[in-house]
């Protein structure tokens, strides 16, 4: 995580300033609650049969893999001042494409077929992302609307691809992506880590991060400084699409079925939540990939905790809401001041709003 931060502060005081500090605390608290219910919750053991690590923690990590993918993509989109509501639908399209491809090939052992399915799924997701990007940057529609349209159309597209059915297929190598193990660790977790690190390194080692933030902070000024918003926005939405595709592959490969009405359903909300819990502002600007990761992990932990504690289905949303509200309160300056006791301006000048007729508006 720390690779994504430019200035890492060592001291605890510095950590407290980090917007995702409370996210980490919340994860620890949730784990603690689970441990109180069952002291062996955190136990990680080695499955004697195959040497794989098993345990609730690994389940949480595996469950978080798809959320992490879309949260990372979302954090880039949000940094540009946009939003991507279509990630859930892109997930199901990616799932539908790969399942149909695998089913049509009928070969349940070939890795070539699995790679083909993966490649096809990612290509289609990238395409959908590019369409989003074009709608936002070239046509000039508001991101909320462009991606809302894609969210509606995407799920329909998935249904068209599978003729409305929940398609199942069998292919060992493809299944391995979500269920396999390497050196005792789940492949899907390793893949998620690799993807996050790659994105983080590319964004922060290049000037991409700076330019994305610039667009999000003030599109007019960025344009005047010579930044090309179009290419950048298309890239960002495409990346978000591809990452959603990866998430879709993770989600469908784990059960080798695509559920056209459920796969990825409302996951965009989880992704947005993750990014915000990580400290980003939906108005765009500075982003932190570490924050998005913490947010994603928190959501996965929360989902697992609800099941582990046996919270009844009907109370689940209220439980989730309570956690979110408490977390938001802890992150707010007003409450934090109770801890740090610093005087602040009565009205912190909110950041100058981007002028209205902007590229993304």
């Amino acid at each position: 995580m720390s690779t994504t931060e430019r200035r890492t502060g060592a001291g605890g005081r510095d950590l407290i300033r980090r917007p995702y500090f409370w996210g980490i605390i919340a994860i620890l608290l949730l784990l603690l609650v689970n441990v109180l219910k069952d002291p062996s919750f955190l136990a990680v053991s080695v499955n004697s049969a195959n040497g794989n690590l098993v345990g609730n923690l690994l389940d949480i990590l595996r469950a978080s893999a798809p959320i992490l993918m879309i949260a990372v993509g979302m954090s880039l989109v949000i940094a540009t001042g946009g939003i991507d509501l279509s990630v859930g639908s892109v997930m199901v399209v990616a799932g539908a494409v790969s399942m149909e491809f695998l089913k049509a090939s009928g070969d349940s052992t070939s890795s070539g077929v699995a790679l083909g399915a993966l490649g096809l799924a990612l290509a289609v997701s990238a395409l959908l992302g590019v369409v989003n990007g074009i709608l936002v940057s070239v046509v000039g529609l508001q991101p909320f609307i462009s991606t809302l349209v894609m969210m509606l159309a995407g799920r329909g597209l998935a249904k068209v691809i599978t003729s409305g059915q929940n398609t199942a297929a069998s292919n060992g190598p493809f299944r391995w992506i979500a269920n396999g193990y390497v050196i005792g660790l789940p492949v899907v977790v390793l893949l998620a880590v690799v993807v996050v690190v790659i994105v983080a390194v590319v964004v922060r080692r290049s000037a991409l991060g700076l330019m994305i933030e610039a667009i999000g902070i003030n599109p007019k000024a960025s344009r005047m400084a010579g930044i090309r918003p179009r290419g950048l926005l298309i890239t960002v939405y495409a990346v978000s699409g591809i990452l959603a595709g990866v998430a879709g592959v993770f989600a469908t490969a784990s059960v080798m079925t695509v559920d056209v009405s459920r796969t990825g359903y409302q996951l965009e909300l989880d992704a947005i939540l993750a990014v915000v819990i990580g400290g980003a502002s939906l108005a765009g600007g500075k982003f932190s990939m570490g924050g998005a990761v913490v947010g994603g992990l928190l959501i996965a932990t929360l989902d697992k905790t609800i099941v582990f504690l046996g919270v009844s289905s009907s109370a689940t949303p209220a439980f989730k809401a309570a956690v979110i509200i408490v977390l938001c309160l802890l992150q707010s300056e007003r409450v934090r001041n109770l801890f740090t006791q610093r005087p602040v301006p009565t009205a912190r000048a909110p950041k100058a709003r981007a002028p209205k007729e902007s590229v993304t508006a």
Binding site: L135, V139, G140, L141, Q142, F144, I145, L148, V149, M150, M151, L152, A153, R155, G156, L157, K159, V160, S163, G164, V260, L269, I272, L273, V276, S281, L282, A283, S313, S314, A315, T316, P317, A318, F319, K320, A321, A322, I324, I325, C328, L329, Q331, S332, E333, R334, V335, A347, A349, P350, A352, R353, K356, A361
Partner: protein
Amino acid sequence: MTITMLPDPPGAETKSRIGRLTDVAARTWRTNLTTVPTLAAVVIFIAMMIYGELAYGRILQYNTLSNLLINNAHLVIIAVGMTFVILTGGVDLSVGAVIAFSSVAGLLLANAGWNPWVVMVLMIGIGTAFGVASGVLVQYFKVQPFIATLAMMFLARGLASTLSTTPERLADDSSIRSLATKLKIIDGEKVNDLVLTPGVLIAVLVVVVGFFVLHRTRTGRTVYAIGGSEQSAALMGLPVVRTKLWVYAISGTLAGLAAVVYTSRLGIAQNITGIGWELDAIAAVVIGGTLLTGGAGYVLGSVVGALVLGLMNVLITRDGGIRPEATTIITGGILLVFVLLQRALTARRRE
């Protein structure tokens, strides 16, 4: 010193006279720039009506039009609330869930023998309470609107299902149902009647009041100012805090009112009512020409937006041959066409 003066271009004088005229025309356009998207929505709505009548028939008749209003009265009501919120640059995702909670709680009370009028007031009050809670989170704790109202959405949905997961049914003689009494204005053949319900009248009243508040009160103007620039509004000495609280309270209250109207019509309440209605409301607002970034738009536009959505469903139903997997694509497509058209119109005017 050397001064070179350029000649006036020939005909400069006449040109400037014509120029002045075009200037005035251009200025009028620019003044009305914000109304263009809304006007576009109205035009497209009428076009859809005509298309429907020509293609499928039986659109421009009493019952279809009455039902368009009756079936979408609650949507109109929440769209008005959503307009307020979106004008300030926020969003309220909780409305659908608040409707669910408010109606379930209300019917439980009604069935427990509470006075139906008290129940209705309480139902509205529940909406207000959720709205105020969102507003407090947004304004005092600087939680982003999207997140604050998302949390309220989960909370309301969760509380609703904690109350009951089975449909609650309103007694047949409850006076809450009276809001859905059909007032036949013109009695046509069979069911082809021009009908209004008190629910529709409430919606109309909400629209009128909403329009009045936005355009004829200081609070309303502050809503627009906040949407333009919250920082500027604060530095201009406008009551930003109070107004933002108001806006969320209004949206919540109207969600409560929509719950009353919707429940009275169906006679049941359920924890799963209203899933996705917030997106319908947002879509209605956007179709009506309101900018999601805030600061520009009209309540009347949102009303048209809500009716467009309703009419679109009617047309899809009338067609009847649309494959199920294509329906969401079509909904998305129509939404896209709408915003594209508006975009094209406003872009041309801006030149």
